[in-house]
Amino acid sequence: MPLDATLRGIRQVGDRTLRIVERVGATVAFLGLTLAQSATSFRRFGLVIREIFYAGVQSLIIILVSGLFVGMVLGLQGHETLQNYGSEQSVGVLVALSLVRELGPVVSALLFASRAGSAITAEIGLMKATEQLSAMEMMAVSPISRVVAPRFWGGVFSMPVLAMLFSAMGIVGGFLVAVVVIGVDDGAFWSQMQAAVDFRHDIVNGIIKSVVFGIAVSAIATFEGYEAPPTAEGVSGATTRTVVSSSLAILALDLVMTAFMLKGWN
């Protein structure tokens, strides 16, 4: 019956939508719980430093190498397009604005979600599966404040620094291709970039984006790990969900923030 099939389809879409909304709500509630139990993380900041090392420092290689390549590609593509208009001297502006406004925060957040977010989820999920979180609770120590909050803040603090390093490395990549390889004038490359990039509207907005992405990725990663079914399959599924949900959240948040930033927040 076509009507039955249609109704079943609508019902399935409704069910799925409700589940997604419920999941988003649970993640936000978990974020609230994490923030409420973050005092230990700041009282014993060594716990956060340790997580900054695992999430941030150990992500440096992939961030720096990716930034270099993205910048090189931007230099090549930018030069190719701009020379049609006789504006190849502006390639530095194109590279810098693309990186600082968009690609730096977004691509580094996507890489961070894949590299560090999935690792956080897997680690917390495995701690749950091997009863380490239960053991902690039985010792009267809250796993949220001792395990989740330091990882959350480690991610939040790491993300903007990684995004800035990604952008800086990308600009170096763009310079290498445009100036060293193709031969664009280096004075024009740097001076036009300096004139066009605004500290408040470009750099600060980029940092704001990366902080928001850091919060989103860290909240999703810790939530998925904490809620993972305590089995190998459960942890594997949670890791996948972290990467998928984080990526979608980054892109959606980027769209919203970009719209506000271009229009102004008022």
Binding site: T130, E131, A135, E137, M138, M139, A140, V141
Partner: protein, 266 residues
């Protein structure tokens, strides 16, 4: 002798399935009591109820005079500082060394200087014979060693009540004997009270003071180890002597095998 644990008319279930029915149980101070039964009979659930990880549906669970059904999170955590728990596979924190695992609770709950914590930690490790592995990580230990380190960690703050969840599971005969003797000795030396959940009959009967047998969610027998060994109750006899035939069927309930295989009679 006063009771440290008192359970009366306890009912507990997951969703519609009742796991524990009308349980009445007491654990006198200073004693070592075993809860035995087949896998899935509800004994670990009972231990989790005593540890406050689960709340009873009906009835009362009192530990050290406090009713756990209505206890606040703060009071529960305060109570848990007086408890120790050994999990089935140790549940050691895999990101901490053996030394840090044992020192964990002292650092979390006391303001002792590090030099005192060091002495206490080494004494606890010495008590389980593993002072020499203090710098190893949990992944470098055998199953028996991990269980002994977990035992040192569970007794780190000299708890009044120690809960053991299947401490003998998966151990070789020598490790099994060592763990059994350690459980008895620690109970006596610390003046603690212990509840041991296990299905290892022979090892447990050597060390415990009293035994409760649980089957299908009810206590079907209880007594001292000698009374249990001499019991003529069919269930206890089958369980203690490991007989294949008895009140516990070999086959899980199912329809006739002819139906499953598609065979017709005649």
């Amino acid at each position: 002798m006063t009771n440290l644990v008192e359970i009366s008319d306890l009912n507990f279930g997951y969703n519609d399935r009742l796991v524990l029915k009308g349980i009445n149980l007491t654990v006198p101070k200073g004693s070592l009591v075993a809860i035995m039964g087949l896998s899935g009979c509800g004994k670990t659930t009972l231990l989790r109820l005593i540890g406050g990880q689960l709340r009873a549906r009906e009835g009362s669970v009192r530990v050290a005079g406090q009713e756990l059904n209505h206890i606040s999170q703060r009071d529960l955590y305060a109570l848990r500082r007086r408890l120790g728990m050994l999990f089935q596979f140790g549940a050691l924190f895999t990101d901490l060394s053996v030394y840090d695992n044992v020192a964990f609770q002292m650092r979390e709950h006391t303001t002792l200087p590090e030099s005192v914590i060091r002495d206490l930690t080494l004494m606890k490790l010495n008590a389980v014979g593993l002072r020499g592995v203090q710098s190893l990580m949990p992944s470098e230990l055998s199953g028996g060693m991990a269980r002994r380190v977990a035992l040192a960690r569970a007794t780190a703050l000299d708890p009044e009540l120690i809960l053991y969840d299947e401490p003998f599971a998966g151990l070789d005969p020598i490790s099994l004997g060592v763990i059994g003797q350690l459980i008895r000795r620690l109970n006596d030396v610390l003046g603690a009270t212990s509840v041991l959940v296990t299905h290892d009959v022979q090892e447990s009967l050597k060390i415990v003071d009293y035994v409760y047998f649980v089957s299908e969610g009810v206590i079907v027998a209880q007594g001292t180890p000698d009374e249990i060994r001499a019991s003529t109750l069919p269930f206890v006899h089958q369980f203690v002597w490991g007989e294949v035939d008895g009140p516990l069927p070999f086959h899980y309930p199912a329809q006739a095998i002819q139906n499953d295989l598609g065979l017709r009679e005649g």
